[in-house]
């Protein structure tokens, strides 16, 4: 589904990703872990198409198509979803209104007819239950004045509505208490299917108690320095990142 080969990216003159290789197949959940400043969020942003980063080398194929050539909106329409670490507050634009626009733009890209108001509302009601989000929140300006937990639930709600093939969760656990974390994780788990894949970017292991990954990768200084099964996450939780740093430095 997703093939990242030797991906390099920088911001200004600062090189952040120094050759990432990663293969994600349908149905899989990959966790990307690593210390602060290792490039985790940069990887998520580059995949979603944020313009602040310059891709200086390598390639990313999504279902055989060159992802890096696509505008962010086309990546979304192809089936990629980024749950933001810091969801943006947009005064004057309600979640409902913007999501309807988004869904119908995506449907247009795929050659489908737009959803009418009734179909859209029915779908919305269904997905609201998934993340236990309130209608009144969705009628308000997008994320404006939302608590940290509400913002993250709104991200997962949008994901549920857009049903992406590949979801990228960027530090979705940051700023969440344990109850909010559980709700968010349940939302993600209910969307797991053999056709869909998820990349979970996180600093801590605790999210992975709820969203159990198939693979864990450790990103350090812009490279994936270690990959392993889910148990790797426990090891990191127990021992921290220093032993990996030491391992890398000695090589």
């Amino acid at each position: 589904m997703l093939t990242i080969s030797n991906l390099q990216a920088s911001i200004g003159s600062k090189e952040i990703l120094k050759g990432i290789n990663l293969e994600v197949k349908p149905g899989e959940v990959h966790a990307i872990m690593g210390p602060n400043g290792s490039g985790k969020s940069t990887l998520a942003s580059v995949l979603a198409g944020r313009e602040d980063y310059d891709v200086t080398g390598g390639s990313v194929l999504f279902e055989g198509k060159d992802l890096l050539e696509m505008a962010p909106e086309n990546r979304a329409a192809e089936g990629i979803f980024l749950a933001f670490q810091y969801p943006v507050e947009i005064p004057g634009v309600s979640t409902t209104n913007f999501l309807k626009t988004a869904m119908n733009e995506i449907r247009k890209y795929r050659g489908l007819d737009p959803l009418d108001a009734v179909q859209f509302l029915k779908l919305m009601k269904e997905k609201m239950k998934l993340v236990n989000i309130d209608q009144s929140l969705l009628s308000r300006s997008l994320n404006e004045g939302f608590s940290g937990g509400e913002k993250k639930r709104n991200e997962i709600f949008q994901m549920a509505m857009l049903e992406p093939k590949l979801a990228i969760l960027d530090e979705t656990d940051s700023g969440l208490d344990i109850d909010a974390l559980r709700i968010v994780a349940e939302g993600v788990n209910q969307l797991r299917s053999p056709e869909r894949a998820t990349i979970v970017v996180t600093h801590y292991q605790r999210l992975l108690d709820y969203i159990v990954p198939d693979y864990v990768h450790v990103l350090y200084k812009g490279r994936i320095v270690k990959s392993g099964p889910k148990e790797l996450a426990f090891e990191l939780e127990e021992k921290g990142y220093d032993w990996i740093k030491a391992e890398v430095e000695t090589v």
């Binding site: 944020r50 909106e73 979304a76 329409a77 913007f98 999501l99 626009t101 733009e105 300006s141």
Partner: protein
């Protein structure tokens, strides 16, 4: 008289005045005409302002005074011509003026006469001279403003509205001023007077439009008195051509416990200067001022506001927003006076701008002059680009960049538009803004 290059238009106007005076016979002795003559002399002394004048620093009227205009030119406007303006269909009082002249055949008045007394200025001169003597030119200062002096000197047509005490006028009133510039350069100087008596309530909108590609010049002055416990909503909507010059002053006088809500929306217009001056000469008043301007091309839009807190315990609140494209320029100058007597004043002012092009310029100047010590005042201006982070967020959900930009700009504008409580007017504006955004 000084020998400035702006003498052409000025000397023509002075000559026009004297010619018309000769044809007046006895009417030249009337009190009204004495005011006109005084205003003319004042205009003669002041001359047109140059950019050296602090209030006109960013708005250069040089190109305006080089033009030659036909004042109050005849127009053979038809209903078909009006249809192309696609104006909102309003269930209320609608008065049409073309090149400054009243068009009774296009106008309709639905409010009963005991609710709302509405007449043209020329009718009011004949029918209600006492009302005019009491209010006319008592508020809009022509001593320091050449354009107000000019308008006062030539004041002959416009609308006089009087809402009697304890009357709520349900139907909105819209005054449509159209410059028919299809044949030649045209000019008009509408003069309006609205009196909202004690505990009365009314909604009035002024709309300015252009037909045709020739230059037009509108120099409008509106005086508004909002008496004790009265409430007024006032909207000024400008949708004029790139060849249009518009200089306008709205002078508001508020008495105890009165409320005044206003929105000034400029969608299009080549060269615009709006002065909105509010004197809060009463306690426990509220004044709300909203503004939206949306220049593109080489349009120039200047909003000057002045709130004068003269008495204690009043509240003023101001939000102006601008979206600037291409090589357009914008000016916001917001002055707040809090006089020594005006303790416990609350005054807020905010001006927010989105500049979409590197060639567009926005000049903002908030001015607070506070002479009382127990007041709450704040002001802030921001000028920046569209929020890139918000843009990316919307794109990452599948919304194409241009749509995402439109969505963000519409939301930005909607903050002001939603303050307009005359539904058909607001809905029409929303459609026009969407259309301008989609261009």
């Amino acid at each position: 008289m000084t020998n400035q290059p702006n003498n052409d238009l000025k000397s023509r106007l002075l000559a026009d005045f004297r010619n018309s005076e000769e044809r007046m016979n006895g009417a030249s002795k009337s009190a009204l005409h004495q005011i006109r003559r005084e205003a003319l002399n004042r205009f003669d002394r002041l001359g047109f302002p140059t950019v050296k004048h602090e209030e006109w620093k960013y708005t250069n009227v040089n190109s305006l005074i080089k033009e030659v205009f036909e004042f109050n030119a005849p127009s053979a406007i038809t209903l078909e011509d009006l249809a192309q303006l696609e104006s909102s269909q309003l269930n209320g009082n609608v008065l049409y003026f073309v090149n400054g002249q009243y068009q009774p055949q296009l106008s309709k008045i639905v409010s009963p006469a005991d609710q709302l007394s509405i007449s043209t200025l020329s009718e009011a001169v004949k029918n209600t001279p006492d009302l005019l003597n009491r209010y006319f030119a008592k508020y809009a200062d022509f001593q320091d403003n050449a354009f107000t002096a000019l308008n006062t000197a030539f004041a002959s047509e416009g609308v006089v509205i009087h809402v009697p005490a304890h009357t709520t006028v349900e139907a909105p009133t819209i005054l449509r001023f159209i410059s028919d510039a299809r044949q030649m350069n045209v000019a008009s100087q509408p003069r309006n007077l609205f009196i909202v008596d004690q505990n009365a309530e009314v909604k009035v909108a002024e709309s300015f439009r252009t037909l045709g590609d020739q230059a037009s010049f509108t120099n409008v002055v509106t005086e508004i008195v909002v008496a004790e416990d009265a409430r007024m909503e006032y909207y000024k909507i400008q949708n004029e051509s790139d060849m249009a010059y518009h200089i306008g002053t709205t002078q508001v006088y508020q008495q105890d416990r009165s409320h005044f809500y206003s929105a000034t929306v400029t969608l299009d217009g080549g060269f615009i200067r709006n002065n909105l001056n509010i004197a809060l000469d009463g306690s426990n008043c509220e004044a709300h001022m909203y503004g939206l301007y949306f220049p593109n091309g080489r349009q120039h839009i200047d909003n000057h506001t002045l709130v004068d807190h003269r008495k204690p315990n009043s509240h003023s609140n101001e939000l102006y927003k601008g979206i600037l494209e291409d090589r357009s320029t914008g000016v916001f100058n917001g002055k707040i006076f809090v006089r020594q007597d005006a303790q416990k004043t609350n005054a807020y002012q905010s001006c927010k701008n989105v500049v979409l092009s590197n060639d567009a310029t926005m000049n903002t100047k908030p001015q607070l002059e506070i002479f009382a010590d127990d007041v709450k005042c704040s002001h802030g201006t921001t000028t920046g680009k569209l929020n890139e982070e918000a843009l990316f967020y919307l794109q990452s959900r599948g919304i194409p960049k241009t749509e995402a930009q439109s969505l963000l700009m519409f939301a930005f504008a909607e903050d002001v538009i939603k303050k307009i409580k005359i539904d058909p007017l607001r809905e029409q504006l929303e459609r026009r803004i969407q259309a301008k955004l989609a261009r």
